[in-house]
Amino acid sequence: MTRSVSSGPSRTLPQYGALAAVLLANWLLFPDFFSIRLQDGRLFGSLIDVLNRGAPVALLAIGMTMVIATRGVDLSVGAVMAISGAVAATLTQAGWGLTPVLAASLGAGLLCGLWNGLLVAVLRIQPIIATLILMVAGRGIAQLVTEGQIVTFTSPDLAFIGSGSFLTVPMPVVITAVLLGVTALLVRMTALGLMIEAVGVNRLSSAGAGVNTPVVLIAVYVWCGLCAAVAGLVVAADIRGADANNAGLWLELDAILAVVVGGTSLLGGRFGLLLSVVGALILQAMNTGILLSGFKPEFNLIVKAGVLMIVLLLQSPTLTLFLPRPARPRPVQPPAPSRAKPESPSPSAGA
């Protein structure tokens, strides 16, 4: 993850700063915010709650980051959560063991991602439309799996994923950390990260340089589907049941918001996995803060919209013209004539 964002701390500072600011605001509203206690071998406290509740969106954001880095978007992750939860709950209720349940549930997520990837990479459908199909159909599939019921289960094995703990840390947090680590290794220890960024910046040039663009695109959508399936499992395991109508509802938008807050541009290219998770935690910390402060939960949505507005304003080309330029650490350049001649578009209009 060291190289996730190319130019050092100045790029990553706003995100960590925002997280710190939100946490600080929570602490001012609720002085006990940072207190953590150990109870029955598991950590409790508001901060732990932020991590725990933020886990599903953080999981989605991990996969979504790479999709967005290829200049795409995956609107179906909420629906895929519903499918994986429905599969897990239904099969558990039917008496399957933990391992086959996990395999079936994650497999469903992989298949969903493969479907999205094929639509985007092979049929070249615009990502927002391609994934809209599964966003709509996915919830229907989940309802078919649960036969329209809210399926509940009692298996402690599966429930452990949602409410258990490992070395005192809640399982959702552990799972998120592991998936973040595995994903980071996968993209940064191989050349996959470079290829994802190259495809996102310029698909034509990348293909011309021999990058297997369809495979890269399919891979990111498959991984995004997998992340969504893990998130769906965590949620279903936590509530010990699957609600095909509401599981993961609107979470795709939170995931996109987390990625954007984390600084990955919707125009594709450079991405930061850790920063997207930080983005998800910022959102969750705001959620928790509003709940703790006693405001109505409805404020949540408005505050969220406000944050999105600020982030997008900071990225807006119109506005950045009026803002002081952020101090970018650019090494001293020789007064070389080499940079002096960017091609102007118009004079070559002769033919």
């Binding site: 190319s6 220890m189 191989t190 050349a191 996959l192 470079l194 290829m195 960024e197 190259a198 910046v201 310029n202 034509l204 040039s205 990348s206 293909a207 011309g208 340089a209 021999g210 990058v211 297997n212 890269v216 290219g269 450079r270 650019r330 090494p331 001293v332 350049q333 020789p334 070389a336 004539p337 080499s338 940079r339 002096a340 001649k341 960017p342 091609e343 102007s344 118009s346 004079p347 070559s348 209009a349 002769g350 033919a351």
Partner: protein, 517 residues
């Protein structure tokens, strides 16, 4: 007035002293252009000659800096294509500027629908649409969306719309670029009919055969200046090409028999061998051999099929006929990845769109092809990447503050050198360069030419497309000359000379397609 055929009435359209500059670059410099009633007038010129600028300034897309435009003696100054249309100047672009989702009838009457009681009178619109299209020999379902018809039909609809809106001057900007022979014939018939009705047609094209088949007069621009206006019947092809390329030519030099060296050269087995290789609507089937340590130049006018040939060789476009072989083994080029595996590299003409990955660093751009060939599972260690990048930055003298600079911040010439580095890092056997020196400064220009010669001496095979004939002659052992999407000549050894290339470009087609008017 410098009208060569003075008549009592003013010419249909007279442009005098038209000038337009962009950011200090003079795109049009005091250009005169005259269109008469009932003529088809070809507006010709190479890249950057100013054809598009002339049309856009004439129709008011750009505001002119100086000059006058008069239509039938009345000074006009439209401020856009729509206003030009109201002033009787209709424009039809290569990419039809109509709305493919709307019906043919709606497109014909967009913005001027027949109204009845405040609503669009659809019945009347359909009837009038059919009536408008009848003279063009088009009887089609006018309620069907325009996008469902061929480009040729769409173009005729666009022409019909312009003419129906009382156009006296019709500007056709490369209308035939994406049409097949059959469609071109239909379009030409329409154009001749309109000419007989007294409409003046400005015809922009890259196809010389079409100019001679159809046009009454020719105006040639070069580097934003008027080179001259001639009657087609009085302008031999060779003079036309000379006007376009801007050189005085003696009669074509004697054919020099290939020297012994050339014969020996030709006996060497080729690295790559193409037979009957081609693609419909892109480039006619061609034969091409390239040997190691040989530079083969592709010369021709803009749109002659040079770039298309280069793209087929690299698999950027997929051929639909013919065979390819490398080292005598038949191969299939289904995409760049196939070509790269065979040891090919390709620097495209449009560096920004198809070459660089702008937001990534110089280092990442340089190692991209090598990394892609190795596959994502075998990442090049960061240290090694830096070594490769630094080596080529030094070797090719790429002017960048450091290897981590985003490549989009470099100048055109340095971007080009970085792209060359990308391929050199893969140690290619065949390097295909499409306009490697376009839009780059003089210093980088010379360096790239020296590099081409050095690579060739090291035994690499190169296929180079360039509009700069002197440049091609300087480094090519053989030059393939293209015209109208066809390989028309291959010059070798002592034959490789600018005037021979020009003569080949200007040579008459073997089979006359269209009868002369």
């Amino acid at each position: 007035m410098t009208d060569p055929t003075p008549t009592a009435s003013p010419p249909l359209l007279a442009i005098r002293g038209l000038s337009k500059a962009f950011l200090g670059v003079q795109a049009l410099d005091g250009v005169d252009f005259t269109v008469r009633h009932g003529e088809i007038h070809a507006l010709l010129g190479e890249n950057g000659a100013g054809k598009s600028t002339l049309i856009k300034t004439l129709t008011g897309v750009y505001q002119r800096d100086a000059g006058t435009v008069t239509l039938e003696g009345r000074a006009i100054a439209p401020r856009g294509v729509e206003e030009a249309q109201r002033l009787h100047i209709g424009t039809v672009y290569q990419e039809v500027n109509l709305l493919p989702n709307l019906s043919v009838a709606e497109n014909l009457f967009l913005g001027r629908q027949p109204m009845r009681f405040g609503f669009v009178d659809r019945g009347a619109m359909r009837r009038r649409a059919r009536a408008v299209l009848l003279p063009y020999g088009l009887s089609l379902d006018v309620t069907a969306p325009l996008g469902r018809f061929s480009v040729a039909t769409q173009q005729i609809v666009a022409i019909a719309r312009a003419v129906d809106m009382s156009a006296k001057v019709l500007i056709l900007d490369e209308p035939t670029a994406s049409l097949d022979a059959q469609e071109v014939t239909v379009l030409f018939k329409v154009m001749r009919t309109l000419r007989s009705r007294g409409i003046g047609i400005v015809f922009v094209t890259h196809f010389l055969d079409q100019v001679y088949a159809l046009c009454d007069r020719i105006t040639v621009l070069r580097n934003g200046r008027l080179v001259g206006e001639r009657r087609t019947a009085e302008l031999p092809r060779i003079d036309l090409v000379a006007m376009m390329l801007g050189r005085e030519l003696e009669a074509a030099a004697h054919r020099i028999a290939p020297t012994m060296d050339d014969a020996e050269e030709d006996a060497r087995p080729p690295l790559v061998r193409f037979r009957g290789y081609g693609k419909a609507r892109s480039v006619e089937p061609f034969d091409l051999d390239i040997r190691p340590g040989e530079v083969v130049g592709l010369a021709g006018l803009l749109g002659s099929g040079r770039t298309e040939t280069a793209r087929l060789v690299f698999g950027m476009d997929r051929a639909d006929r013919g065979e390819a072989a490398v080292d005598g083994q038949a191969v299939r080029l289904r995409g760049p990845r196939d070509a790269i595996r065979l040891g090919f590299g390709f620097c495209p003409e449009d560096r920004k769109k198809e070459g660089i990955v702008g937001a990534l660093s110089v280092r990442e751009n340089i190692i991209l092809a090598l990394q892609a060939r190795q596959g994502w599972l075998r990442p090049i260690p960061r240290r090694r990447q830096e070594e490769i990048a630094d080596r080529f930055i030094r070797l090719l003298d790429i002017r960048t503050p450091h290897a981590e600079q985003p490549i989009q911040l470099l100048s055109g010439g340095n971007q080009q050198k970085a792209l060359l580095a990308r391929w050199l890092a893969t140690e290619p056997r065949l390097l295909i360069l499409d306009e490697p020196t376009r839009g780059i400064d003089v210093g980088a220009h010379a360096e790239i030419i020296r590099l081409i010669e050095r690579l060739c001496a090291d035994g690499m095979a190169l296929l180079v497309v360039s509009s700069e004939l002197e440049e091609i002659v300087a480094y090519s052992r053989r030059v393939v000359v293209l015209r109208d999407r066809r390989h028309v000549a291959e010059l070798r050894g002592g034959e490789v000379a600018v005037d021979r290339i020009v003569a080949a470009i200007a040579s008459e087609p073997a089979v006359a397609g269209e009868p002369r008017p």
